[in-house]
Amino acid sequence: MTDATLPTTRPGGLKRLVERYPFLPALVIALVLLALNGFYQPRSVSFIGITGLTKTYLALMMLAIAQTYVVYAGDIDLSAGAIVSLVNVVIVVMMEKMGGSGFSVVAALGLGLATGLACGIVNGVVVAALRLQAIVATFATSIFFTGLALYVMPVAGTPAPAAFWRTYGGRFFEIPFVFYAVVVLAIMLYVLARTRLSTQLLAVGDDAQAAFQSGLPVTRIRIQGYALCGLFAALAAFCVTGDTASGDPLVGGKMTLFSVAAVVLGGSALSGGYGTVIGSIIGALIIGLINSLVFFVGTPSEWQNLVQGLAILLALMAGILVGRRARA
């Protein structure tokens, strides 16, 4: 985060900076929102406040990351939320069936990851190998995944075992579990950013034909992007399960469009080739901060959704305009 203070002496410095760190406008918006949150409710920027915010929005952050990898390549995944639902019910049912012990939790999480991965690969094959249009094809798979989730758990309400949600909401050495999760996440993202795949996905999003002519296996790369998306959607499902402590076959549905919004807020281009996962995390945070700010300023409850909607729309527009201005 020290990047923001890099010297911008020569003309075009800002342009270079935004080009290198596309999430800068989002970061500024997030910091302003954080300050406003603190102004209206000092406790919200306390340790407990931040922990709560992270705990609530970690799932959306994960799903925004998931969405980012497909957006890198110029694709989109409208089934991301349905994958969250499916993984959520799969792990809850699995843990329940195996008695809720520590081992069952680990086994269930493994199965959850495999489920997310499988869903992602299905999406990838459908979009990249069968060459269907991503928006409609992933909408169709989202219906299919939702059907699967309903098959696994027809009605919401099966509780997750205490071993699971106590861990997620608990503390170790006085530090909340979610912060360990954030650290592990950061390492994972760093590692992923160093792999060939990130660069290849971005190159495909830049110009798929050019990437193909350069000898890149475009279809395989796009499938890998969707696979990665499925994996992170599974991680998002773990967070949702930790947060809600129960299974719900429709829990993720509403998250899909928010994940797209978070990606755009983070400065990534939906047309592909340009963006960062950090930006998407910040984008998810912005959504969370807007929601809490609307609450803290004392908006009457029935007006909250409208003000949130307006603020998100404005932030989306501002992010795109500022990003374009800075790069132009």
Binding site: R194, T199, L202, A203, A210, A211, S214, G273
Partner: protein
């Protein structure tokens, strides 16, 4: 034995045969030039070799063994690298990443080996360090580079394949003299290493400077191979042209000088992006030519007059009134017409019927609301017939036509309601000779009927045969005006190559 050999390779796109019969044989340690007019099939042939186009028939042999190239990756594995004319760069990636994109070095743990990547890229960047110009470094994002610098990156990318056979499809079109010289030095080194180079260029001097052998390709067919040492430019051009006639005979005499000159279009010190202080006037019935090397501001001036590109300063007078170009819509209402040579980008409304492609200007100028096919057909047919356009029916999609006929459709849209001034921006790019003949016959007829015409053409013969006066552009401004007997190829070349 040849390093690489093509026998009877062919490719059709729908109804169009892009490559009828390609026979080619390249030796190791040779620079083999491929030459042919636009659309003759050179690029298709190269793309087949590079694996990005699937051939319909024929055989490819490498080191005497027949091979099947299944894709770009497979071409690479067979030792073929390519420079794409339209470039294959990822705009948001850095120069280094682009150079190594096809084959990124990884560490044992599977991560991108940044050090190895930078080191490898640096080798190729260093090759052009002396000529790459300002703002070029390995960590620059490609979208921030100038056109010539991007072309250098594509060259580096092709070199970085270290393939035994490298194809360069028009690698020098945006490069300056020094960059071309440096590139040729590198090519000679590759040759000395025993590598095979396929080189495509339209510049005769380059071909004779670097080539060992030349193969001419015409109408999708390879028609002959000569040793450069044993031939000369005239002979190569004869092979390229074949038995086709030269352009239609010209009337020779400028027709506008005799009549009283009423100016329909006047520019005074017009400046904008890519051009500066351009002044001229076009009289009723006159054809004013724009000449010079490609991309010296000719196109920018025409687009500025038509309201597409912004004008920074200066004045345009149209039909006696000052005119501020704000957008094409306004320009069309004021009686201007503009035909772009890039018909795919600016002209053809692809996938739509011919009728819809001819009528948009008519709609605007007549303020129509309803489109009655029968009534429109009566207006449209004469315009299409004036150009001898060949088409099946007005309801057929424009894509079903050849390039020349597509361009005729695009031009015909301006003929239903006659404009006062016609701006032609290299209108014959990539169209066949007979279409060109039809087009210029029409242009001269329009001029005779009193239209003012500005013609930019990248083909000197077209200018010399048709323009009453020629303004030679260089570096964004007019260097010389050629009138009457001064309109010679020699004068045109001299002014075009003059140091800016």
């Amino acid at each position: 034995m040849s390093k690489i050999e093509l026998r009877g390779v062919s490719k059709a796109y729908g109804a169009t045969l892009a490559l009828r019969r390609g026979d080619l044989s390249i030796d190791a340690g040779e620079v083999h030039v491929l030459i042919g007019s636009n659309g003759s099939g050179k690029s298709t042939l190269c793309k087949i070799l590079a694996g990005s186009v699937r051939p319909d028939g024929g055989e490819i042999l490498i080191d005497g063994k027949p091979v099947t190239i299944t894709g770009p990756r497979s071409a690479r594995d067979h030792g073929i690298g390519i420079f794409y004319q339209e470039l294959s760069l990822a705009g948001h990636r850095t120069v280094s990443e682009n150079i190594c994109l096809s084959d990124m070095p990884v560490t044992r743990a599977g991560f991108v080996d940044r050090d190895a990547l930078e080191a490898r890229a640096a080798r190729y960047v260093a090759l052009f360090a002396s000529v790459a110009g300002d703002g070029f470094s390995a960590d620059t994002t490609v979208e921030n580079l100038r056109a010539d610098q991007r072309q250098l990156v594509e060259i580096m990318k092709a070199l970085a394949t270290e393939a035994p056979v490298i194809i360069f499809d028009e690698p020098t079109s945006a490069l300056d003299r020094a960059q071309v010289d440096r590139f040729f030095e590198i090519l000679r080194d590759l040759k000395a290493e025993g590598r095979s180079i396929i080189f495509i260029s339209h510049r005769m001097d380059e071909i004779f400077a670097i080539g060992d052998r030349v193969t001419v390709i015409r109408d999708g067919e390879t028609v002959g191979t000569e040793r450069i040492a044993d031939t000369n430019p005239a002979a190569v051009i004869r092979l390229m042209v074949g038995t086709q006639d030269e352009l239609a005979p010209t009337n020779g005499a400028p027709h506008a000088t005799a009549v009283a000159r009423t100016f329909v279009l006047t520019l005074q010190n017009l400046s904008g992006k890519g051009f500066a202080n351009v002044s001229f006037e076009v009289a009723k019935g006159e054809i004013l030519g724009f000449g010079g090397l490609h991309g010296q501001g000719q196109s920018s001036v025409l687009r500025a007059i038509f309201g597409v590109n912004p004008v920074a300063s200066g004045e345009i007078v149209l039909g006696g009134k000052t005119y501020a170009a704000s957008n094409p819509r306004e320009a069309i209402r004021r009686g201007l017409a503009y035909v772009s040579g890039d018909r795919g980008r600016d002209g053809v409304i692809s996938g739509r019927p011919i009728l819809e492609n001819v009528t948009p200007i008519h709609y605007l100028r007549q303020k129509l609301r309803l489109a009655r096919p029968a009534a429109l057909a009566d207006r449209v047919r004469p315009a299409l017939e004036a150009l001898h356009t060949k088409f099946g029916g007005l309801g057929h999609p424009i894509n079903s036509l050849s390039g020349g006929n597509q361009q005729k459709i695009v031009i015909a849209r301006w003929l239903i309601d006659r404009p006062d001034v016609l701006l032609l921006d290299d209108p014959t790019k990539g169209i066949d000779l007979s279409a060109k003949t039809d087009l210029f016959a029409l242009i001269r007829k329009l001029a005779a009927e009193g239209m003012g015409i500005v013609l930019y053409s990248s083909e000197d013969a077209e200018l010399l045969n048709n323009a009453d006066r020629i303004l030679v552009f260089n570096g964004g401004s007019v260097r010389r005006e050629l009138t009457g007997a001064d309109r010679t190829r020699y004068n045109l070349y001299q002014a075009a190559y003059e140091a800016a």
